[in-house]
Symmetry: C2
Subunit: 302 residues, 2 copies
């Protein structure tokens, strides 16, 4: 009987740290997560301990075929370090050494969380069979990742796919990143909500806004249409640059389903760029484990 | 004594068809080119004969280790066909079969000419050592190609890198492609020339315009600055999406040198995107053989 390979996958985000054992065929057989300690700069040890204890606990002394670490960015795959915007306690934190020391086994492989999500969807989800895939995570922010010919595109040090911060509207709103009119200023959950409220919609959350749009409330519909226009511009640019054949939309806002995807497909058709003609736009299917599954896949490819 | 591997490289463009024997170390040992017959739709055989005769002549019965074909786009690597915009006689022309039948040896590998140029520069030119390279050809049109981790990025069917047709100015001029404000409408040689003449500059060619800008003539300087702004926007978007570490500028307009590159580097610095901070922008070094050298390199990687 063939033995089953076990991979340790870790997913580091601003709100939670997750770890899982993932088999060589992609089954998540043991999963645990803890809230990311909200630690100020200087509290590096506190956050590091939360991560290494979680990793050691989930690994549990199991012989590991590989270790994959997905992290919010910016990351630096050349140095094995991470500086997640939402975890100020870690700046140039040597996550590869820390996790390696905590669990032993083969040296961890580091990947951006958005790229890991795209890689997971390509392996076992809505990206299966694509030869030029863009995965987009639409949530409180907007991230993305490319998988070309089955390989994740990392760029020089791992930060490729930063699609929320390409310019959608040069005359648009200032963005938290310091530039103007980024995709994120129009298409993130909070951006759509802000626009709807500024135009008189009385609700307070993105799921409520999606329900209102599904019920045909004009301002809510318009907010999703506007978000879809921002996303469509970013997808068109990406499709022209990378000759994409598929886009997978993940993240909390993608739960809105056709309320977002309908206007998105319309906007892409209206634009008329040749590069989007053969493109299909679909919802992700792996849910919240996509980053862990992608991290495990990345560990296999070493 | 080790034998030398010989590769047949072909470069198909709207004005010339080129072929060469390239050694395994990248030396161009036999090179020939002919004008592309200007043939109307329906004259497929005429153009095909020019290509196959050229290929057979340069191959000369030599045992080939591989065959690489670079072509103007659109191409379709999945089907082995090309439909170059500027060669209307060929639509879905099966170039892989035609060249394969003409020269024998291993089946030809097809690559977009702009991607081939980037791959050539990465192998032996100004892109050497880059892990995330964008090559841009600035000429009568604007093309581009990406080389990530040493591999050319082809996209789903080979047309990745089409950087001349991402949107630089949504409120800009109509483009020949049917969309509006493409990079090419501001940064190609003819676009800069057209803008300069519309603003009172009396000359007639891009080299003249470069000389005038080098001599400090205000309108000529402004034309290159404007072109540089368009290019800078495209480079910034590409750098954010692909975490680039280097950009190599090739093509006729790049002969202008610092007249173009100076304002381009300034525009990138002024934009302030984090993704361009570590980016270097340099001129190509392989000259007109970059596409042939890249095609040969592509044939080696099979």
């Amino acid at each position: 009987m063939a033995s089953v390979d076990h991979y340790l996958a870790i997913d580091i985000g601003g709100t939670k740290l997750a770890a899982a054992i993932v088999t060589g065929s992609g089954q998540v057989v043991h999963h645990r997560e803890v809230p990311t300690p909200s630690a100020d700069p200087g509290q590096e040890r506190l956050v590091t301990r939360a991560l290494t204890e979680l990793a050691a606990d989930v690994a549990g002394g199991l012989p590991l075929a590989g270790v994959g670490v997905a992290s919010a960015g910016p990351i630096d795959t050349a140095r094995g370090t991470i500086s997640p915007v939402n975890i100020p306690a870690w700046r140039d934190f040597d996550v590869v050494s820390a996790v390696g020391a905590a669990v032993g086994g083969p040296g961890p492989r580091l990947i951006h969380d958005s790229t890991a999500a795209a890689l997971g969807e390509h392996w076992l989800g809505a990206g299966l069979g694509s030869s030029a895939l863009l995965g987009i995570v639409v949530s409180t922010g907007i991230g993305g990742g490319f998988v070309m010919d089955g390989r994740p595109v990392s760029g020089s040090v791992g930060n490729a796919g930063f699609i929320g911060h390409i310019t959608a509207d040069p005359a648009g709103e200032p963005c938290a990143c310091g530039r103007t009119g980024c995709v994120e200023t129009g298409a993130s959950g909070p951006a759509m909500l802000r626009w709807a409220r500024a135009n008189g919609w009385p609700g307070h959350s993105t799921p409520e806004l999606a329900d209102a749009a599904a019920a045909g409330e004009a301002v809510a519909v318009a907010a999703f249409r506007r978000g879809a226009d921002f996303l469509a511009g970013a997808i068109t640019t990406s499709a022209i640059l990378l000759d994409l054949d598929r886009v997978v939309i993940a993240g909390g806002v993608s739960a809105a389903g056709e309320v977002l995807l309908g206007p998105l497909r319309e906007a892409l058709t209206r634009d008329g760029a040749a590069a989007v003609r053969g493109l299909t736009v679909v919802r992700a299917t792996l849910g919240r484990h996509s980053g862990l599954i992608g991290a495990a896949r990345h560990a296999m490819a070493r």
